[in-house]
C-alpha cells in the first residue's frame, strides 16, 4: 500500500529531508540533523509538519456528557476556547489513546488523536456513543493540515504575521478563525516539545504557503524546519507520553504517571473508572520511572530492567538526551524500585549495565 503524504510532502522533499514510514505516513525524520533541530527548538524555534495527526469532531446534544463517559479527565470542567489533555481507557484501565481535545462549544468538540490510532479511535468513539442518541462522531482528518511551531521565539515570530494578540491565547487555550500570513487557522498554545509554542490547524491546500511564510519570517531568529526525530527527543526530555511506548492497551494512564489527567473523584461514571480509582488509591502495579545510565550505553524501548538479577520491568523510551548530554530512559517498573537514587541494571545486548533512577521530568522549561 502506498504511504500517505501530507500536503507538505513536496516542501520537505525540496529541502532534501529524509523520510520514513511512520504509521503508514511518509514523514521526514530530520532536515538538518536531529541534534541541530532539537537545539533550535530549545533555544529559538522550530516548525514541524504534524498533519498526520487525526482530527475527529464530536458534536450534538450531550457531547460533553459523552466525553465525560469515555475520557479520564473531567471534561465538564473545560470551557469554550480551552484545550484539555486526557486519556481514553478500556474497562480494564488500559489505554485506547491519549489526546488533546478542544471545546469549540457546549455541543461540539475537536479531538486530536494519534495518527496510528485514528481508525481505532473513531470506531471506539462511534461504538461508545451509541447510547448517546444526540451525539455524532465524524473523522475530519482529511480536512486539516497541522503545523506545530515551537520554541521560545515562536510567539515573537508568529506575532509579526498576525493582527491577533497572541499573548491573549494562554497555555492550553485556542482561538478559531485567526488570520496568520493571510491564512485562516485555528491556533492553540499547545505542543509536544516542553517549550512554549503553538499548534495551527488549517486547510491542507494552504499549508505549504504558511510553512514557507513562517520559515521566511523566522529566518532572522534562526527558525528551522524539524522532523519526527527531534519531535521524539524533545517530547522525551519533557516526559510527554508517546502512545505505543509509555501508553498502550496494556498500560494504564496511572501507571504511566498521568494521574493529573485521571479525575476519579467526579461523580459521573467513565470507562475504566473502577480500575483507575483503585490504582490511584492503592498504587498501580507498575510505575513510570526516569533512569540515567551510569555505564556507557543507551537504553531503548523494550530493553529489560533488572535489580539484583531479577527482572523488574522494561524501558519504554530511551535516547541520548541532546539537551542534557546524558543517556536517559523512561522505564515501567515495579513501584518499589522507582525512588530516585535507586540503582538498577539495563540489559543492553546481553550486558547488564548500571543505571540509577532520577527525578522526572528530565527537562523543564526555564531550567
Amino acid at each position: 500500500m502506498a504511504l500517505k503524504r501530507t500536503p507538505l510532502f513536496t516542501e520537505y522533499k525540496k529541502s532534501g529531508a529524509k523520510t520514513v514510514d511512520f504509521g503508514g505516513w511518509e514523514l521526514p525524520v530530520s532536515f538538518g540533523g536531529i541534534k541541530q533541530e532539537h537545539a533550535a527548538v530549545r533555544e529559538r524555534a522550530g516548525i514541524f509538519d504534524v498533519s498526520h495527526m487525526g482530527e475527529v469532531i464530536v458534536y450534538g446534544p450531550g457531547t460533553i456528557e459523552f466525553l465525560q463517559y469515555i475520557m479520564t479527565n473531567d471534561t465538564a470542567k473545560s470551557k469554550d476556547g480551552k484545550c484539555q489533555y486526557t486519556a481514553m481507557c478500556y474497562e480494564h484501565g488500559g489505554t485506547v489513546d491519549d489526546l488533546v481535545w478542544y471545546r469549540l462549544n457546549e455541543e461540539k468538540a475537536l479531538l486530536i488523536v494519534n495518527a496510528a490510532n485514528e481508525e481505532k479511535d473513531v470506531n471506539w468513539l462511534s461504538e461508545q456513543s451509541r447510547d448517546f442518541s444526540g451525539v455524532k462522531v465524524e473523522n475530519v482528518s482529511q480536512d486539516y493540515a497541522q503545523l506545530a511551531f515551537q520554541g521560545p521565539k515562536a510567539e515573537t515570530v508568529l506575532q509579526r504575521l498576525t493582527e491577533e494578540s497572541l499573548a491573549a491565547i494562554t497555555f492550553f487555550s485556542f482561538k478559531e478563525s485567526v488570520t496568520i500570513a493571510g491564512t485562516d487557522v485555528l491556533i492553540s498554545r499547545t505542543g509536544y516539545t516542553g517549550e512554549d509554542g503553538f499548534e495551527l490547524y488549517l486547510a491542507p491546500e494552504n499549508a505549504p504557503a504558511l510553512w514557507e511564510a513562517i520559515l521566511a519570517e523566522g529566518e532572522a531568529e534562526g527558525v528551522e524546519p524539524c522532523g519526527l526525530g527531534a519531535r521524539d527527543t524533545l517530547r522525551f526530555e519533557a516526559n510527554l507520553a508517546l502512545y505505543g511506548q509509555e501508553l498502550t492497551e496494556e498500560i494504564t494512564p496511572i501507571e504511566a504517571g498521568l494521574g493529573f489527567a485521571v479525575k476519579t473523584n467526579v461523580d459521573a461514571p467513565f470507562i475504566g473508572k473502577e480500575v483507575l480509582k483503585r490504582q490511584k488509591a492503592e498504587g498501580p502495579p507498575r510505575k513510570l520511572a526516569g533512569i540515567e545510565m551510569i555505564d556507557k550505553g543507551i537504553p531503548r524501548n523494550g530493553y529489560n530492567v533488572l535489580a539484583k538479577g531479577r527482572l523488574i520491568g522494561q524501558i519504554t523510551s530511551g535516547t541520548h538526551s541532546p539537551t542534557l548530554q546524558k543517556n536517559l530512559g523512561l522505564a515501567l517498573l515495579e513501584p518499589e524500585y522507582c525512588e530516585p537514587g535507586n540503582k538498577l541494571q539495563v540489559d543492553i545486548r546481553n550486558r547488564q549495565l548500571d543505571a540509577v533512577v532520577i527525578e522526572r521530568p528530565f527537562y523543564k522549561r526555564g531550567n
Binding site: 536531529i34 526525530g229 535516547t319 541532546p322
Partner: protein, 127 residues
C-alpha cells in the same frame, strides 16, 4: 558521496583499508548519513577475536542502534578509543578520524568477498 578508491567495502556499509596482513575498519559516509547524528560507539577491546559476518560492536544515533558486522575475521590489534568521547567523528570524518579497529587478518581470502568503490556505489544507489 565520498568513496575512496583505495578502500574495500562490505554490504553492511563498512570500509576496509588493507595494509599487508592488517586491516583498518570503519563505516562509510553513506552509513553515517543514513544513521544521522551519532551519539555512541561501542567497540571491542584489544585482543578480542572478530568473526566474519558476526556483530563486533554498535553505532547509535539519537534515533536508533545499528550493529557493526565484522567484514573479516581476526584479532583486534588496536581500537580507536577517541570515539568513546567523540562519537561525532563518525559523522565528521568517517574515513579518517573515525577509524574503529585495526585487525590482523586470520584469513586473507575473506577480502575477496568485499566490494570495490564502484561496486559499492552501485549497491547503495539501488537501495
Amino acid at each position: 558521496m565520498n568513496l575512496p578508491q583505495e578502500l574495500k567495502y562490505s554490504k553492511e556499509h563498512e570500509w576496509v583499508k588493507v595494509d599487508g596482513n592488517k586491516v583498518v575498519i570503519g563505516i562509510t559516509e553513506h552509513a553515517q548519513d543514513e544513521l544521522g547524528d551519532i551519539v555512541f560507539v561501542e567497540l571491542p577491546e584489544k585482543g578480542d577475536q572478530l568473526t566474519v559476518d558476526e556483530p563486533f560492536g554498535s553505532v547509535e544515533s539519537v534515533k536508533t542502534v545499528s550493529e557493526l558486522y565484522a567484514p573479516v575475521s581476526g584479532e583486534v590489534l588496536d581500537v580507536n578509543g577517541e570515539l568513546e568521547d567523540s562519537p561525532e567523528f563518525v559523522n565528521e570524518s568517517p574515513y579518517e578520524k573515525a577509524w574503529m579497529v585495526v585487525v590482523e587478518l586470520s584469513d586473507a581470502s575473506q577480502l575477496d568477498a568485499l566490494m570495490d568503490a564502484d561496486t559499492y556505489k552501485q549497491m547503495i544507489s539501488e537501495d
